[in-house]
Symmetry: C2
Subunit: 340 residues, 2 copies
DNA sequence: ACTCCTCATTAAACCGGTTTAAAGAGGAGT
DNA sequence: ACTCCTCTTTAAACCGGTTTAATGAGGAGT
């Protein structure tokens, strides 16, 4: 409760000027080693930690990074990606004394408003650009705002920002090959909204791999990554005159919901219908039957993104893109040979 | 990209002093209306927004609130509470120009370290104390750190902080009465870790209601709120010589995992076994069979908590506790009459 | 002994706001 | 015409750091 010590207190105690304390703290050359020791000792005795606020003002940095997420429960709630991603980000930030500022955009406004607010308030030194879209308007906006960023996934247009990528395709290819290997020929897909880069990446990998096997999709339904969307799409697929014997979902939430829909329709999974998801969310392992899915590592993704963004923020030019180990197939009980 | 205007620019343009601009902006009395208008017009023309950093330094406030969450994927990942809660918090903060700072504590450290860091860095003006524990040591810590807080749930010890509560008991009572009404007499519970206030609240409400019906629990297993824990607990219950005909889980994740475990054991839910959860998470509605559960409103919880914490932060003394509408029962297909 | 350099240190300005104490301008009262 | 008040406005200090330009102290060179 007693007032925290300031740099002036430390200077007084060490018998030097404020400037010297600042130099010592920041390891600037030009101070005698003995003086540095004296200052650091004094700082230590007083338990002094430089004020973030003062530093922020004088060096014009926020020492914080920002993440904008949409309030839409569909995207936000129970999405297994963000929590782990955030944990990975924090694991980097905490070692650097940085903070993570969350900006949730509410239903009424556009996601861009979130970035605008962060920039306007100068709350952060850089932001993560997640759920990248095709011709993503946010890239131009951030350039305009002068806010450094890192994109999660590689944008298709020009981008001045480094990209941290995790290739979804090998996992998708593996799922399709797994299904084809089991003997399926009537395979359908529930894709994510085509506006998202990762949704179409998974989607085209799916179609291409099928084509390579001489097959084509029974149908491609578009879901919105929510459980409700998964249910809808599944019902449409099952109502087809010749329904698929296997369905590949663009994420686990839709897959688990689809699993429920199939069971509710009286189908046995996997005997009547094989189901595969994407994400390897916590529940994937524990539903019945266990969900065959594709596992990425959002924690590492967060780490890599934070490190990369910090290089940009630190003024590093030409920060290279980072490519993470690709997502890989996890086979569980929800996939089996098709019915005869 | 051009430098953003400062208060000095506005002052110059309006032909007044910096101080007057500050007064006008903050609606301080003592300025002629005409002057205020002139200043606001100048500010508007320049598109000036006061610098948060400068304001932070001079008024010693961060204009931000903090939320500490543990990195433990068990608590963090796919927990339906936090995302919605955070959205509610943000809906209040965004109207006040405040930010939400997330502090994730990594595996190696204690949750207290998270609060300590937030306080040390003076990053926030107050924090949310979630997942309250019995004799929660964080309350003393925050008092010591001089960091204002609001507790989510009412602590059992003394606390100088207002509490925002959402009574889980009515929902729990309703679940038990629902099961008893269906004819169940062999009811078991998978409780949360007893260290948590909300876990024991649900647990004792469960036992008390059973007792009021002249019954006692077949067994009470303790889970850890994770899907894996739900599986474990369920297996133990099903292995009992006289297994329960209904299981009440302290959260949906354990319940959905338990549902999977029961189905994997060859049981039909709800014919052989009724299952009820708690949270009404997104998937609860879509698994098969739909999960009977208890619904709270984490978004409102977040709103109320943010508003209450802000009152404390603003220096309001004796901020009253806030009681939210209680959680309520949602009946779906996973509960039915017990087997004969 | 005197100049010149280098190295260590400091005083002061600065970041962009808020706040306090004091000054200035009018108007009323006598 | 002079004093006294009230209402506006401002100059300057302050928040707690960083940074630049200047100063001071030794030591080497001649």
């Amino acid at each position: 409760m007693t007032k925290r010590p300031t740099i002036a207190d430390v200077a007084r105690r060490a018998g030097v000027s404020k400037g010297s304390v600042s130099f010592a703290l920041n390891g600037r050359p030009g101070l005698a080693q003995s003086t540095v020791d004296k200052i650091l000792a004094a700082a230590d005795e007083l338990g002094w930690r430089p004020s973030n606020r003062a530093r922020s003002l004088s060096v014009s940095k926020a020492f914080a990074l920002g993440l904008v997420i949409t309030r839409d429960p569909a995207v936000l709630s129970s999405d297994p990606f963000f929590p782990a991603f955030i944990a990975g980000v924090e694991s980097v930030l905490s070692t650097r004394g940085q903070a993570l500022v969350l900006q949730v955009v509410t239903a009424g406004e556009s996601e861009e408003d979130g970035y605008r607010r962060l920039a306007q308030d100068a709350r952060v030194d850089g932001v993560f650009l997640s759920d990248l879209r095709h011709d993503d308007p946010r890239i131009g906006l951030l350039v305009e705002l002068g806010l450094p960023a890192v994109t999660l996934n590689r944008p298709d247009g020009d981008s001045p920002f480094p990209a941290v990528t995790l290739d979804d395709r090998p996992g998708t290819v593996a799922v399709v090959e797994h299904l084809v290997g089991l003997g399926h020929t009537r395979i359908a897909q529930v894709a994510g909204p085509p506006a998202f880069v990762h949704a179409t990446a998974r989607s085209t990998a799916f179609t291409d791999t099928l084509a390579a096997a001489g097959l084509e999709p029974v149908a491609v339904e578009t879901g919105d990554f929510t459980a409700a969307g998964g249910i809808e799409a599944t019902r449409r697929l099952l109502a087809l005159p010749e329904p698929p014997t296997a369905i590949f979902y663009a994420n686990d939430r839709m897959a688990i919901a689809g699993l429920g829909a199939a069971q509710a329709a009286g189908l046995n999974v996997p005997d009547d219908l094989s189901i595969a998801g994407f994400d390897d969310s916590e529940l994937a392992e524990y539903v019945h039957p266990g969900l065959t899915t594709v596992r990425a590592d959002p924690f590492r993704f967060g780490e890599a993104a934070a490190r990369t963004l910090n290089r940009v923020v630190d003024g590093d030019t030409d920060v290279p893109d980072v490519e993470l180990p690709p997502a890989e197939l996890v086979v569980r009980r929800s996939t089996a040979a098709p019915p005869l």
